[in-house]
């Protein structure tokens, strides 16, 4: 109980320190609204003659982007802060503190995400209703699954970043890995829904973890069915668990290396 309270306090502190940068924050939500607006205009123009594409009407497309961007824009800075701790040697100093390094990073990151999510969610919903109105074919029953999928999208994103951050124990410069992962999750599901991608790329993307960050919740929201639910959510959960486990394993290995070599 007491340990839990400790991490809640970390999250809380993270929330209030993020609140201090209110202006930056407003700029972030503005960026969100702007991107969705540009995409709305773009898809309006694209589907002027065809009505819908790959099953996406303009309305669905806009809601798709809102859900996908919501997950990605709410991401924490865990990669950067972990990298700084590990490479700058700050971690050696934190090892003897009575908390778990990963749990600390997790609470801190989730605090950041919570703040961003709370700002972006209302903006997203508002912008969606203003631009295209209610989502076509939306059913209330899908909501719990969508919320769950958004959460797992965020968690997967977090642990993937943390996993890459852990490589700092071994490499001098791991920002290239981070960059590649970011670009892959951008191309596979954020820039365009998977349905638009050419056959082979799409086939591969389904097996890779990257589309389960943004594509998964957005797809679930815009075309909810039992089949999409069973084909998406379990994979999302599995990948999240896998990356969480990998992070913990890497951390243990890394700390051992640190103890042997002396930070």
């Amino acid at each position: 109980m007491r340990t839990l309270r400790k991490y809640l306090l970390v999250a809380e502190t993270s929330i209030s320190s993020n609140m201090m940068y209110a202006a930056n924050f407003l700029a972030g939500t503005f960026f969100f609204a702007l991107i969705i607006f540009v995409f709305l205009q773009l898809w309006n123009a694209i589907s002027l003659n065809s009505g819908s594409m790959e099953g996406y009407t303009v309305n669905r497309m806009v809601w798709y982007y809102i859900a996908a961007e919501l997950v990605v824009l709410s991401k924490s800075d865990v990669f950067r802060s972990m990298n700084e701790e590990i490479r700058g040697g700050g971690i050696a100093y934190k090892l003897n503190k009575p908390y778990s390094f990963i749990a600390y990073q997790f609470s801190d990151g989730m605090g950041q995400t919570a703040v961003r999510l709370c700002a972006n969610l209302p903006v997203g919903i508002l912008v969606g209703f203003l631009y295209v109105g209610r989502l076509e074919g939306f059913v209330w029953e899908s909501l719990p699954a969508v919320i769950l999928s958004v959460l797992f999208g965020i968690l997967l994103n977090f642990f993937m970043d943390a996993f890459i951050g852990m490589t700092a124990f071994w490499t001098e410069d791991n920002s290239a890995f981070y960059w590649i992962a970011q670009k892959l999750s951008f191309v596979l599901g954020l820039l365009l829904p998977l349905e638009f991608l050419p056959g082979v790329i799409r086939q591969i993307a389904v097996y890779l973890p990257f589309s389960y960050i943004a594509y998964a919740p957005a797809r679930l929201l815009t075309s909810f069915s039992k089949e999409t639910l069973t084909s998406i959510l379990p994979v999302q959960v599995l990948y999240t668990a896998l990356f969480a486990a990998l992070t913990a394993w890497m951390y243990m290995k890394g700390v051992k290396k640190l103890n042997v070599n002396g930070g």
Binding site: S16, M19, M20, A22, A23
Partner: protein, 360 residues
């Protein structure tokens, strides 16, 4: 030297600077509040400074942190616009003729570097040469001259990041006088340097003053800088001048005292300590104050007689304490002469004993 403007390097009349700062309180509610309707607080950094510095003088501008030293220098160099007051630096108005003035002044500003961190100093010198519009041949001969003067020949081709702090400081100083400035503003030029390098920098300052008749305007926390370099000291506190006198007079009144920390192994003759100015003392360790003019030797020999000494250090009185003392003296004086108001306070106690060595 008379009041003729051409003879003065710096003339400032009743300079004032008020800053407005946003007040930020802690807590979520207050953060939101400060976005909607921020509260402001006015801070008077400089409250009426009147000053005249003749050309070729070496002036120390002293005071504790936050006294308004930097703000004053920034106004004199054209960085900040004063809230009110007039000034003229080398006959220019810094506020309106910043560019013209900047050709004639140089500065070494605290930890702000003019040199490019990743490049050797020579590249920065060439860039500065272009900034100050020095033509190629003149620049080459000037660089040669300065390199000799500062003995930085072997440093010129090493990237700045690989230089030691002392080496960097020398190059920094050299960079600031490339364009033969008539006044050099030095803000804490010896901070963080070891004794030998400090001495080197001081020598350079003196030579620059003598050989090129450059006016030096220096701020420092280091009493040594002031004692060895300057012929006049202006002390400010809370944005006002509290003392403006020659170093000789200041030395006589305040700088000639030393603090002696001593630790005894055991006492043999405690009575020989009687009459000494002991500020703090418990048991075998004590702190004393002594006068430089002949007094130190006397104190030391008495200490030796008192017992076997384990450890002893002699140090300058910190700047903060000197200013505190000047204040205390002023207060008692103010009680006598009530007419001395809060406006411009010149250190009359010292200027009367002045023997003409300073700048008046």
């Amino acid at each position: 030297m008379d009041k003729a403007d051409s003879a003065s390097a710096i003339v400032a009349k009743d300079l004032r600077k008020v800053f407005k700062t946003k007040i930020k309180k802690e807590g979520f509610r207050e953060s939101v509040k400060s976005i909607i309707g921020p509260e402001y607080k006015e801070i008077e950094a400089v409250r009426g400074i009147t000053l005249e510095v003749p050309r070729g003088e070496l002036v120390a501008f002293l005071g504790p942190n936050g006294a308004g030293k930097s703000t004053t220098i920034k106004m004199l160099t054209g960085i900040l616009h004063p809230t009110s007051g007039n000034m003229s630096v080398l006959g220019f108005d810094p506020q309106k003729q910043r560019k013209e003035l900047s050709f004639k002044i140089g500065s070494v500003f605290g930890q702000k570097s003019q040199l490019w961190f990743h490049l050797p100093p020579i590249d920065s010198f060439r860039l500065l040469g272009a900034i100050y519009e020095i033509d190629g041949r003149t620049l080459d001969s000037r660089i040669k001259e300065i390199v000799e003067l500062f003995e930085i020949g072997e440093l010129m081709d090493t990237p700045v990041r690989k230089l030691s702090l002392g080496q960097r400081m020398r190059c920094e100083f050299a960079a600031s006088i490339l364009h033969r400035p008539r006044i050099v503003f030095l803000d804490e030029p010896t901070i963080g340097l070891d004794v030998l390098v400090k001495q080197k920098i001081r020598e350079l300052i003196v030579r620059l003053n003598r050989e090129e008749n450059t006016t030096i305007f220096l701020t420092s926390h280091d009493i040594g800088d002031v004692e060895q370099l300057c012929n006049r000291a202006v002390i400010i506190n809370h944005g006002r001048i509290v003392l403006d006198s020659s170093i000789k007079a200041l030395k006589y009144g305040y700088l000639n005292r030393k603090i002696i920390d001593v630790k005894f192994n055991e006492f043999s003759d405690r009575s020989s300590l009687e009459g000494l100015n002991i500020i703090k003392g418990n048991g075998l360790a004590m702190k004393l104050e002594a006068d430089e003019s002949g007094g130190i030797q006397e104190v030391m020999s008495r200490l030796m007689r008192a017992g076997s000494i384990l450890d002893v250090t002699i140090s300058d009185i910190p700047m903060e304490k000197i200013i505190g003392d000047i204040y205390r003296d002023k207060d008692t004086e103010d009680n006598d002469i009530e007419a001395t108001s809060a406006g411009e306070v010149r250190g009359c106690d010292c200027s009367e004993t002045e023997d003409g060595g300073g700048g008046s």
